[in-house]
């Protein structure tokens, strides 16, 4: 049996069921209860690309270098395009693009195991056994997606196997399966999305038309919400099937493919851009595995070099297409890495003072928020946790971070404890 979590039958079934459930949503989402606000949000077409650096990227080898300190490692800091802001020498391309990027150097998320850290950094809060919280992607899909969209609302790539099980269960949490990701684990192209060979496209269209005719006849006699949503579900499936080409980078000019380069991470970032451009609100591209307990500097030389290239190419591509202003790129891990360098020249898990970056939509480019101490052991200024980071992300893309969902009668704040955004990194 394939280890992919998506097969066509399950996917179609889930989608149909989810859309049916959509109209009878028990969460009482207040965006839908305020159509004017919903329309305002959606017309802005905000999007998010999450570059998930699974395993824990080192802040010291990326956005918070400590050159010359005992904890600093061998890599130097380089000046960026923003006076006074330095990042690791492993990121020379990002250094020239820092005017589009904000850095937060003061995350203290306290959880330094992979599972717990990944869950927290997907949910923006600690998990609770009594509530199935949706992850960032599900929330964005819910808030910024369209019910009649012909493209998936939430696509998640995770093609390496290590750490794939960490984080959320890819269910959409209490928002329901409708907002679960299209989860790609085998390849960069969804399996089972293609029309089966034995049915021609004309056959498929004719079947759809017949189904539509019968449904409408049925609906005239039995007017209910669920019948309408059933038709929406089939329309959506048909749309999703036609989105197959979005995952095919062969559709891109060779010059664009060359810019991204040959690595799997780069090619998935290109697919992410194609999806964003087509209207997908949230794409997560996971790049595992950064867990450099040994040989940290060699591992980061490989992986940060790739990240630097992929991220800067993605920024340029979005900018060239006029999409950067409406697309937020987030780099995030489950935690950072210890300032202490162990005997294997590695760095271990560390959640007490680490960094993230936000680029593009709603971001005050070139800003730096927070500070770690001289050796990077603690947050010296501006400490924030996951909830404030998530509040900041929502604010950047126009989602009210103070809103509440309801799970049955229970009000559930979108952001834990109604945490405030970090306005310093936002426009």
């Amino acid at each position: 049996m394939s280890n992919t979590s998506l097969n066509r039958r399950a996917f179609l079934g889930t989608t149909a069921a989810a859309v049916t459930a959509y109209a009878a949503d028990m969460t009482g989402l207040n965006v839908l209860s305020q159509p004017a606000l919903a329309a305002e949000l959606k017309k802005k077409d905000k999007r998010v690309i999450l570059l998930w650096l699974a395993g824990g990227a080192s802040q010291l080898e990326t956005f918070d270098p400590k050159p010359g300190r005992p904890t600093g490692g061998p890599y130097r800091a380089i000046q960026t395009a923003v006076p006074g802001v330095e990042i690791s020498e492993l990121m020379p391309k990002m250094a020239t693009r820092m005017k589009q990027t904000a850095i937060i150097r003061s995350l203290n998320t306290k959880i330094a195991d992979h599972g717990g850290g990944a869950t927290m950094m997907h949910l923006g809060r600690r998990d609770e056994p009594s509530v199935r919280f949706p992850d960032l992607g599900a929330v964005v899909a819910r808030e910024l997606g369209s019910a009649d969209s012909k493209v998936p609302d939430y696509v998640s790539f995770y093609t390496q196997t290590e750490g794939r099980g960490s984080g959320t269960a890819q269910t959409g949490g209490f928002l329901g399966a409708r907002f679960a990701p299209m989860y790609l684990t085998d390849k960069s192209t969804p399996p089972y999305l293609s029309r089966v060979e034995s049915i021609t496209d004309i056959d498929h269209q004719q079947r759809a038309e017949l189904r539509d005719l019968l449904s409408k006849r049925f609906a005239r006699a039995h007017e209910t919400q669920s019948v309408g949503s059933h038709n929406q579900a089939y329309a959506r499936v048909r749309g999703l099937m036609s989105s197959e080409k979005l995952f095919d980078i062969e559709q891109e000019p060779q010059s664009i493919r060359d810019k991204y380069g040959p690595t799997q991470f780069a090619q998935q970032a290109l697919v992410a851009r194609r999806l964003i451009e087509a209207g997908t609100p949230f794409v997560k591209v996971s790049r595992a595995w950064w867990d450099s307990h040994g040989e940290n500097f060699e591992t980061h030389l490989e992986l940060v070099t790739e990240l630097d290239h992929v991220m800067s190419t993605l920024i340029d591509d979005l900018k060239d297409r006029g999409l950067l202003e409406s697309t937020l790129i987030v780099t995030l891990s489950e935690f950072g890495r210890t300032p202490r360098i162990n005997q294997g020249l590695g760095r271990d898990h560390f959640a007490s003072a680490w960094s993230t970056s936000l680029t593009g939509c709603g971001v005050n480019g070139g800003s730096v928020y927070g500070k770690s101490d001289a050796d990077g052991n603690t947050v010296a200024d501006g400490e924030i946790g996951a909830s404030r980071l998530f509040s900041t992300i929502y604010q950047a893309i126009g989602i009210d971070p103070y809103k509440e969902y309801h799970v049955g009668p229970r009000p559930v704040p979108l952001v834990d404890n109604h945490a405030d955004p970090v306005y310093e990194v936002l426009v």
């Binding site: 395993g55 050159p67 010359g68 005992p70 490692g73 061998p74 890599y75 130097r76 093609t159 390496q160 196997t161 290590e162 380069g261 040959p262 690595t263 799997q264 595992a288 595995w289 867990d291 450099s292 307990h293 040994g294 040989e295 060699e298 591992t299 030389l301 490989e302 992986l303 070099t305 790739e306 360098i341 162990n342 005997q343 294997g344 020249l345 590695g346």
Partner: protein, 334 residues
């Protein structure tokens, strides 16, 4: 008394707070020069009752290598610079922008007239010790691995007659060069020291970390780490691959046993070539003695630290080593 590897015993253990990446020794003495993670070079006498580190100078990043050519000390660093020092008085002679990327190792030719430097720009450069002039650039290693990531040029070694030079990269490729004219004489495939994980973690670990010619020049030994299951950790056995030269035929490989894990960071033959000492480590250190003629490990043991630098005394009965938070002097005839 003849040196006996099975009698290995720590005679001096000097604690440090830094990592000492490389060690060079004044021949016939116990004076050693080390390059440090604190960006500096130090001199110590490992026969002294309480060895004290005398600072010689510094770089802009980790000092990854030091080589002694006569009385001239040459250091190389991740700051891409090569620096010349007078080993007698510690004075700076010159500093040059040696490479476009991080310098990994410097070795001095046996006659002390040349030093060879290898760096992540994948070039080996030969320099005149006397005046710092760049004599030759040797280009034979790919900048990108087969998996499209940056490669690294970690190691170099001169043959004992100084006529040949071997260089080794991350993917396990060795190039052997004719020093006189810079021509490539051949290559060796030691890819058993490189692990690429295509599925679980999708990056790599390992590479050639050490090289040595046998005294007669008929063997080339490549040091690194064996295939790693979980590349988060350098915990595969240390691995040696031994080649016949110049046929380039691989004779055999061997690996450390038991709990001795990590990379062979340094190799040195004794004077008559009857055995080779290798040392290195991962989360802990190891040292191993090998009869290269029959491929048997004579003796192996844990080391007090992950060893990065090593010098074998001319008599073969003393080993000076540097590494993670320590310097050690071993005696082999206790």
């Amino acid at each position: 008394m003849a040196a006996d590897p099975t009698k290995l015993k720590v005679a001096k253990d000097v604690g440090r707070t830094d990592v000492l990446f490389h060690l060079a020794r004044q021949p016939g003495t116990s004076r050693v020069f080390v390059g440090s993670s604190d960006f500096k070079l130090y001199e110590l006498d490992l026969q002294a009752e309480k060895p004290e580190a005398k600072e010689i100078g510094g770089h802009g990043s980790y000092v990854t290598s030091v080589a002694l050519a006569g009385k001239t000390l040459v250091s190389g660093s991740y700051d891409c610079k090569l620096s010349w020092w007078d080993s007698e008085n510690g004075k700076s002679i010159r500093s040059v922008d040696g490479h476009a990327k991080r310098i990994r190792m410097i070795v001095a030719s046996p006659d002390g007239k040349l030093v060879a430097s290898v760096a992540d720009d994948m070039i080996c450069k030969l320099w005149s010790v006397a005046d710092g002039k760049l004599m030759r650039e040797l280009k034979g290693h790919d900048a990108i691995t087969p998996h499209n990531y940056p490669s690294m040029l970690y190691a170099a070694a001169f043959s004992r007659d100084g006529k040949q030079l071997a260089t080794g990269d991350k993917t396990g490729k060795v190039c052997v060069w004719n020093v006189a004219d810079g021509k490539q004489l051949g290559t060796l495939d030691a890819s058993g020291v490189y692990t690429w994980d295509p599925t679980q973690r999708r990056h790599s670990i390992g590479g050639i970390r050490s090289l040595a010619f046998s005294p007669d020049g008929k063997r080339i030994v490549v040091g690194g780490m064996g295939k790693v299951g979980n590349i988060d950790h350098p915990d595969a056995p240390g691995r040696l691959e031994v080649f016949e030269w110049p046929s380039a035929k691989k004779l055999y490989d061997l690996q450390t046993e038991g709990k001795l894990k990590g990379m062979f960071e340094q190799l040195a033959f004794n004077a008559d070539g009857s055995w080779l000492v290798g040392a290195g480590g991962g989360y802990a250190g190891f040292i191993a003695f090998v009869d290269v003629n029959n491929g048997k490990i004579i003796f192996q043991d844990s080391a007090p630290m992950h060893v990065h630098g090593l010098s074998l005394a001319e008599s073969g009965d003393t080993i000076y080593a540097s590494g993670h938070n320590k310097l050690v002097r071993w005696e082999l005839n206790a």
